[in-house]
Symmetry: C2
Subunit: 256 residues, 2 copies
Amino acid sequence: MSSSMNTKDFITSLARGLKVIQSFDKEHRKISLSQVAARAELNRATARRFLFTLKALGYVNSDGKLFWLSPKVLELGYSYLISQPITDIVQSFVDQVSSQVGESCSVSILDGTEVVYISRRMTKHIMSISLNVGTRLPAVATSMGRVLLADKSIEELNVILEKVQFQKFTKHTLTDEQALKDELLKVRDQGYAIVSEELELGLRSIAVPIYNKYDQIVASINVGTQVARISEQELTKRILPCLQNAVTEIRKVLSV
Amino acid sequence: MSSSMNTKDFITSLARGLKVIQSFDKEHRKISLSQVAARAELNRATARRFLFTLKALGYVNSDGKLFWLSPKVLELGYSYLISQPITDIVQSFVDQVSSQVGESCSVSILDGTEVVYISRRMTKHIMSISLNVGTRLPAVATSMGRVLLADKSIEELNVILEKVQFQKFTKHTLTDEQALKDELLKVRDQGYAIVSEELELGLRSIAVPIYNKYDQIVASINVGTQVARISEQELTKRILPCLQNAVTEIRKVLSV
DNA sequence: TGACTTATGTTCGCAATGCGAACATAAGTT
DNA sequence: AACTTATGTTCGCATTGCGAACATAAGTCA
């Protein structure tokens, strides 16, 4: 367990159990007890007890040999979604923007150094990875992340950037901290961010911040497309007004 | 803890921790330590340790007084979603059907006595509750649930129905077990289910099963609308073919 | 078919983990 | 100021959960 965990008041069994849940992914849909133990870095007997507990609670299923997650696990994430009124509010706007512009539209929030998708309307599969509610992407390399980072004070930004490990996803990816900061100043000035081919070649997106009634930025909304389909100029001329209209309406609803 | 939990090999700390996560909902977005303790049925000092552990792991945030779930909790549900290839596969078909028919379209699977939404495309808010990935509804009162139940053997169905507590959501809700079974025979015969105003007045939906290449039913897909907008006849004449086309295509993809 | 490897099932002594009663302090209300 | 409700914290203790070790099962290979 991470040494940053304060062992006083820290419950290792809970931490271990959550690690067991996270042992499952696309490449590990149905795995054996030993695989779970290895992936969760637990003793086999210990992993077994966790799997049996999760099975008793309905979060895991098993055929007696392999284990896989039960849809009940969605309830955990669901606890988060239904405790966030914004997810309900924005969904209809996301659908509306997506219909208007004919491209995928998403809303996300900042969590640490990443953006987390909380709402999404996809028109086509254009990314190599699938994006869903719950997907996390590095904030520094996404348009939604940049509008959220641009809102931070210098101090807050420094704290966040300390934890960022810049990755060069493509030849266009900004990896110089100062260059990023300059870009964020520009984003703040113009009130939107455009990211072209920094996270994945061939893709670009534009994002604007979503404000609540106290003028606090609570999320960001973007439209994502392919560079071959929409130029940066067209993003600002045709797409940006749709996003700006949407966030104006969202702010009204959030102000009720 | 439920007496059905086998205390041998059962890890109460994990169970308790998951209950803490589920203490949060729409009416309990940000709650105090004592409220968490009450809702999770824990001693206050115990609840405090769980909240501090969840905070250390990033699943919960706090202002020192109130606690709320962090979007990191979505990772837990996300572990399930990315371990289910079907969620990726069906999303584009859900979007397609929804676009074609101009109504909301969803996919769900059976989990115990409930259906769990795993994919959704909403055109309008027509239900009083919001439906998201993770939402659970009683299988017996939904079209998607009925196509999934219709696939069960008599024995399997009896096991499931034993655990069902029939609720009369509206005056149209079937609550007689035999009447439900008769309805399921009809569903099996015709290969689709229509539910009108049984879960909520004013709403109707039609669902068909999704098969994999072994002819096993793995999920169901529906279109939901308002009774004022689409008759049952129109559902079968216009909507059903779109759903049937979609499941044919889905089956091809699942067979790759 | 036997040897070997890899896997799971299970136990139980034990130590550490987590518990919760109790006390202290803080904040809000009357 | 008294009272109520809340949180912060401790620490003795009992139970919980651990994991080494052993048993058994299943698969592979020669």
